[in-house]
């Protein structure tokens, strides 16, 4: 596959009066609503894409707040009840000396979500403003965000497994806290935010800035 004639100035589907499909690469005349090949919706609209990104991102951010405040786990050992928040669980792991796992959980439930909020906001802003990072760098950032985002769900699964497993009547019983719900929602919303971002907008903006 070769780029058309001039290898420096790439002709895009949008400029050629066409619309390309994000799922399969098929091109169709502009105005076509549904891809003739794979039936995906076709559109390349900056406003629509960015509005959806911001909406999901804000929803994710809002859901992330109760996820940190409310308890994630409720443990009852010999009649004594204790509640653990996200950060509390990590501190407990550190206390037990399992640094590796504490690091994984810290990374999956604190570092990744926050880095993801920042990365998506940066990507969405950079479409409108002259960017500080070149388009290839931002594309890499976008791919990392899309790949890594779903792994934050680990924490919700850990709560589910612990709840199902640790039911030893009087000796120990674990039940989930409400933070599990808001954390799961936060992860899902940010995944949707990342999916709503159309990477083609970055390349459109690059060309617009050059000219």
């Amino acid at each position: 596959m070769e780029p058309p004639e001039n290898s420096q100035q790439y002709l895009t589907a949008a400029e050629a009066g066409l619309v390309g499909c994000r799922a399969c690469g098929t091109v169709a005349p502009r105005g076509t609503r549904v891809c003739p090949c794979c039936q995906s919706r076709l559109e390349l609209s900056e406003t629509a894409s960015l509005q959806r990104v911001w909406a999901w991102l804000i929803a994710g951010l809002i859901a992330y707040i109760p996820a940190n405040i409310y308890p994630m786990l409720r443990t009852v050992t010999f009649g004594r009840a204790s509640e653990n928040t996200l950060m509390g669980g990590i501190l407990e792991l550190l206390h037990h000396g399992s640094y590796g796992v504490a690091f994984i959980v810290f990374f999956a439930s604190i570092v990744i979500p926050i880095a993801k909020f920042l990365a998506i906001a940066f990507l969405a802003l950079s479409v409108r403003k002259p960017p500080t990072l070149d388009t290839h760098g931002r594309l890499l950032l976008y791919e990392v965000v899309e790949f890594i985002g779903r792994w934050s769900m680990i924490d919700v699964f850990v709560v589910a497994i612990l709840t199902a497993l640790v039911q030893l009547d009087f000796a120990a019983a674990i039940s989930p806290g409400i933070a599990a719900v808001s954390f799961a929602l936060s992860v899902a919303f940010t995944m949707l935010a990342a999916q709503s971002f159309d990477p083609r907008l970055m390349w459109l903006a690059e060309k617009r800035d050059e000219s």
Binding site: L11, A16, C37, C38, A164, V166, A180
Partner: protein, 209 residues
Amino acid sequence: MNLDQIIACPVCDALHHDQDVKKHSTAKCARCGTVLAAPKSGAMTRIAMLSLTALILLIAAACFPFLALEAQGFSHRASVLDTVMAFSSGPMAPLSLATGFLIVLLPAARYCALIYTLAPMAIGWRPAPQAARVYTWAERLKPWAMAEIFIIGVAVALVKVSGLARVELGPAFWAFAALLVVTILTDSAICRLTVRKTLKIRSSGQSEI
């Protein structure tokens, strides 16, 4: 110009002439480097077989005993279904439903969709009706099929309880562990645009790409 002979890069929208790419070589977008075609011999067969393997492992994981816990004379068994139902009491019930979808139903649906699209092509038949649409769904489900994330969650949970109790691993645990490997193999074998192109060509009646 015939629109069938050009494709737009899904990531940066640059137009390319759609040429035949040699087996085992990779065609990348000249502008952003996204892989546009990576045909491999037997890729369809491999993906279809791996999907079938994954589906069988998933069914095994859902049916066989999963984990058992023993401490201070108490013992408790948990199946994958118990794990899904962990949130089922009280206001958190929707999360139980979501967990069931994320770790069992959506991965199963994705593998069924992959088998439906690719198995007929792997044995040289014409694609099944609506194969292109079904494949679109397989691609859309991909980020939401979290069986492989679940097994990492299991590992973390096991470390958390290993201090206070003895944990017994059932066959379902090993099925999930194998599923992790098979999922990675499947995902690395799939080249989206190559599958698309093959689907398109086979549907239009030609037998060989």
